[in-house]
Symmetry: C2
Subunit: 396 residues, 2 copies
């Protein structure tokens, strides 16, 4: 009897053993009740989409696999990827040539559109999870801008207890999204609010206000710069990007910062103001901060920095940015932190730009932090890690 | 010379005249830089989507036209609708059987997915526009719920000057989204923050806090109720919806309200607490408020109310809701406002339910406001108008 019972237990246990190699679970990024996409412990992703009359459906991870999906008898198409790195991965589905998002996924603004994304968990990491710690609030603000001639939308993270400690004033980090994304990216994709909540709860970061602005700007009465359809890195594209960043620079310094300092209990001086951004936002950060060292003393470039806009392959500290990098001692007195980071799996073109900037700064003896995120691409897991390393270094 | 100049002017002016009958402009709901969808002054909508290898593409307005799109030589498919009523209209595009959103549109959560929508302007109306008036802030909160066993996300509108008038306490309106939507609906689709900003600036509404919660709830450790795949109005669907609303009722009364009263400067009593909701949110409102008249004294049902959940076609004031409607004088002493509204173009099934509720309340001499939104469907323009009529009646 006892042996039989053990045998039965073993037999009943078999399906559990079998599941170890097939433990797909619905992604946390799915909409309410959607069973797909699913992710397993290896980071493989299964996608499923209904397209009964389609001839060809392709799964398109922007920084990952692009694979033909297989038609099932029920009219659904399915595909399973190879293991993906941890983090949030943008994707779309191409249905007979139509590049569309997956109705089962939360929609995230990226690539100048609402795209799908799947979260592949990083085992053991809780720094971007919603934990049982005090939570800050994310606020939406609309500020008037005479530079752009309209209302502009931004998100603002306020640290826990902002509302109750009404005598306390806080330093401010301006934190910018990447090209094709918008002011919601750092919260929706990046989970910056949870990262800050957790860093602060552990005592690693000072309480701070984080302002996330919309990083595109055109002058009042002008049409938007046409950034599409121009070859990457071409003089036309550089000129359009440079114009946009210059208008944004004016908006930040003349409209946004005065509004934030008038609206929230900030410490409104350069020693308590930082700026960081990812990719395009890193370029914006570099230009805005270095041109306005009267306003900023902490600078972060996450997979984006200063070399791109010079129009040369090599950043030259002696001449670029009005020579502000030419005197390393003077720079160190003014800038409390210059921080640069890149993922080890980013495309060579992007790594090369950041590396050349890093090398040129080293040769010019410009004190800075250089951080490489192991195994991650030009994607949000890199930038979450960047923020985790960057924020604790601020405002000491 | 002068005549020639006039003639040239007239000739140059001709294309402008011609444009009067073809004055399509990009919709305000488009993503950055997208030229389609476009809307003309009649409310006609042009949609354009790239699907070069598709055999059939259909444009699918959920409460509007469903039309085959036409393939153009450049691989894009286009369609122009007949004139639509003013307001925000959900739509998707069906590409060879795949029901997907339009990459050119902002994504709005509706129909338990991210869908596309196009805003058709209402000529002369500015009550839901962002105007040059003081603006409140929309905040994101995460509150812990022992009822559901997790963190829950809600949006909270705080009136202008909340941060500076730190001695002032405010009444609270709990405002619920509809079935298939989420806590973002009243801001993103409904523009409730701008409606309140404008009502308050004109002196028509009292300053108030508006709490927009996520209207789905399952008990801690339980799977979500399966609301899909059940016939509309069937006993199985009614039971699932009823269970969900009951869990949400506990969440609102035991977790959300205490959190809001502890977090914001509310006036935490029934005389300063209202609840309203649209469609499913109206049903939730009806059940939660009538079961908790110790907590609420203002009640709004926008295209949704109390009759549905009885499981009968006819609402019976004598027996339903524990007979709270059986004594009209007692009800009037307790409830400062009972407000019901419906759009004149809503489907007969929905209008009939609201009308029968309205009629039953009239026959029972229950004092209430009955509002019909002219020419609008079971869509957001109805609910924007509802809020415009409802909010000024609160908290006097």
């Amino acid at each position: 009897m006892r042996l039989l019972s053990v045998l039965v237990s073993l037999l009943l246990a078999l399906p559990c053993w079998a599941q170890i190699s097939d433990d797909f679970q619905p992604a946390t990024t799915n909409v309410w009740g959607a069973n797909y996409p699913r992710v397993d412990h290896q980071g493989r992703v299964q996608v499923r989409i209904k397209a009964p009359e389609a001839a060809k459906v392709r799964l398109n991870f922007w920084s990952g696999p692009k694979i033909d999906m297989e038609k099932q008898p029920d009219g659904f198409w399915t595909a399973t990827t190879s293991p993906l790195a941890p983090g949030l991965h943008y994707y779309t589905v191409i249905v007979d040539g139509a590049d569309v998002s997956d109705p089962a996924s939360t929609a995230y603004f990226g690539g100048t559109r609402y795209a799908s994304a799947v979260e592949v968990p990083e085992p053991g990491e809780t720094y971007y999870a919603i934990n049982t710690v005090p939570h800050g609030q994310v606020r939406e603000i609309w500020y008037p801008s005479k530079v752009t001639g309209g209302w502009r939308h931004a998100l603002v993270y306020l640290p826990p207890n902002y509302d109750t400690q009404t005598k306390t004033r806080y330093p401010v980090l301006y934190l910018q999204h990447g090209g094709g994304e918008d002011e919601t990216g750092w919260i929706r994709q990046g989970r910056a609010n949870f990262i800050l909540d957790n860093l602060e709860a552990s005592g690693r970061s000072k309480p701070m206000i984080v302002v996330m602005a919309y990083g595109y700007a055109q002058r009042a009465g002008q049409p938007p710069q046409d950034l599409n359809g121009k070859p990457f890195g071409s003089p036309e594209m550089l000129a359009a990007v440079h114009d946009m960043i210059s208008v944004f620079e004016e908006d930040v310094t003349r409209a946004l910062i005065p509004f934030v300092d008038a609206t929230f209990r900030t410490i409104p001086d350069r020693d308590h103001r930082a700026m960081a951004g990812l990719s395009l936002g890193g370029m914006e950060t570099f230009q805005i901060t270095v041109n306005h060292l009267d306003l900023f003393s902490y600078i972060g470039g996450f997979s984006g920095g200063g070399s791109f806009l010079t129009g040369r392959n090599q950043f030259d500290p002696k001449v670029d940015y009005n020579g502000v990098f030419s005197d390393s001692a003077a720079f160190a007195r003014k800038v409390h932190l210059l921080w640069l980071g890149v993922g080890t799996q980013e495309p060579e073109r992007m790594r090369a730009g950041l590396l050349s900037l890093h090398t040129a700064l080293e040769q010019a003896h410009i004190n800075h932090v250089w951080y490489e995120s192991p195994g991650t691409d030009h994607e949000w897991q890199t930038w979450r890690r960047d923020l985790r390393d960057f924020a604790p270094r601020l405002f000491h």
